[in-house]
Symmetry: C2
Subunit: 263 residues, 2 copies
């Protein structure tokens, strides 16, 4: 009833040889939620309400009620979220195969480019330059686009809303189907509020990351932080969404396991 690898895995965790990095933003009412044009339905921001705190409402216990959307805070996108993924098998958070919740990540550092240009679009060429340095993206890897967007002021510079809409980086319309077909990636993850760029409604197709990833039964992660603490390759990502019946996505805790010593 033992697995040598599981035993060694626990031993390395306990001895600190494997380090855990929290890629999750804290859920508070201030955390920015995506805002759509007013004719569309809106996602709830996080709201919390105390039930009791060692008081007459509950003398020995403290607890809270809360409300939010499936796409509030650091969260997971299931294929059913997008119309292109609506007929994929096992496309909801409660039916996705469990092994999808544990996968390695390749972290593409676009922080300098995104600082210079909030509308920066990740391209096939940019990925090929990354591969020239780090080797080909292994199949079934998350692609995490590091932009340092999580370090921006959450109230003013995160959604980065201007008169013509939001401005934040994301993948272009060519690189997403290429990542699926040529690299068989697991999904796409970002630090910004969505997996697509702020101006992705103007791309062809609109919202290419949602369209192609979910249309090919792949996943999304967004509103992540601490991507700058990950190695370019080799981090193992635990990202298990809540088991919401027919859920299109879910807030979740995203943890990365990485080797402690960088060699």
């Amino acid at each position: 009833m033992t697995s040598t690898v599981l035993t060694q895995f626990m031993a390395e965790l306990l001895s600190g040889k494997i380090k855990i990095v929290d890629l999750t933003e804290t859920l508070t009412p201030d955390f920015p939620t995506i805002t759509l044009p007013p004719e569309f339905g809106q996602a709830w921001p996080f709201r919390i309400e105390e039930i009791s705190r060692y008081d007459e409402r509950g003398p020995a216990w403290y607890w809270n009620n809360f409300s939010m959307s499936e796409h509030t805070g650091t969260h997971f996108d299931a294929p059913v979220h997008w119309i292109s993924g609506k007929d994929q098998p096992n496309n909801c958070v409660d039916t996705i195969p469990l092994d999808a919740f544990i996968a390695e990540a390749c972290v593409i550092d676009c922080s300098v480019e995104s600082k210079d240009n909030p509308d920066f679009l990740l391209t096939i060429d940019f990925i090929k330059q990354w591969e020239a340095q780090h080797g080909q993206i292994p199949a079934r890897s998350w692609i995490f686009m590091r932009t340092d967007w999580s370090k921006r002021d959450k109230r003013t510079e995160y959604l980065n809303q201007k008169e013509d809409g939001a401005h934040s980086p994301g993948p272009d319309a060519e690189v997403v189907p290429w990542l699926v077909k040529e690299r068989d990636v697991h999904g796409f993850g970002t630090e910004s509020v969505g997996t697509d760029a702020g101006q992705a409604q103007h791309l062809d197709p609109p919202y290419p990351c949602h369209y192609f990833m979910h249309g090919n039964n792949r996943y999304g992660l967004q509103c992540m932080t601490n991507l700058d603490q990950l190695p370019p390759k080799g981090a193992v990502i635990f990202s298990a969404p809540l088991k919401i019946r027919s859920g299109s996505g879910s807030p979740l805790r995203v943890l990365a396991l990485t080797p402690t010593s960088p060699h």
Copy 2:
């Protein structure tokens, strides 16, 4: 930048040598929530509301808003949940050290005893009998009390509410401090709606599992399922709560990693 153990771990996962078992109940409005006497504050059951489904409210996307409590569905109890744990360091879901979210489990099979007696209380003697068969409980292990309670009819037999209150199994008042002091356990997990027995208000102290576990900065898991699919020892449990600011607990996805072949 590589860890041999992490690489082997992923290889065993992908090849099916390590199996993932979902210990999580599906979040639906029907899932039973604990009900307190009417003078106390109450936890919200799970409620879900469609924002759009490929329609005029959002032509290309489907998503939902939802509400619940920190203690709804399969969930994690943080030490701050109980008054005995209120001054412990790092006692909220957003401050608990990350390595607390990955730990091995010892599964104590009380399913026969709980079927015969819904008020069954787990004792030190019962644990010692388990240890005679499986060896001493290793430090920093979850103790999971298997009762097959998750197989009961959720509407009628799960809370098992009678005129004198709820009737469901749990630990007695002696075994909990013994597990903390003598076995240095990580926490206590159950299939029923709480970590304490349904009639635990009559024990001394009342709710001993909450009182002693959280008073010693240990954790709780409840409303789990599929404990009958775990080996008595050696399963590695991933149980990372949402990062709710100052949260007393959290609904979460609980996954167990186990060796596929039982030898």
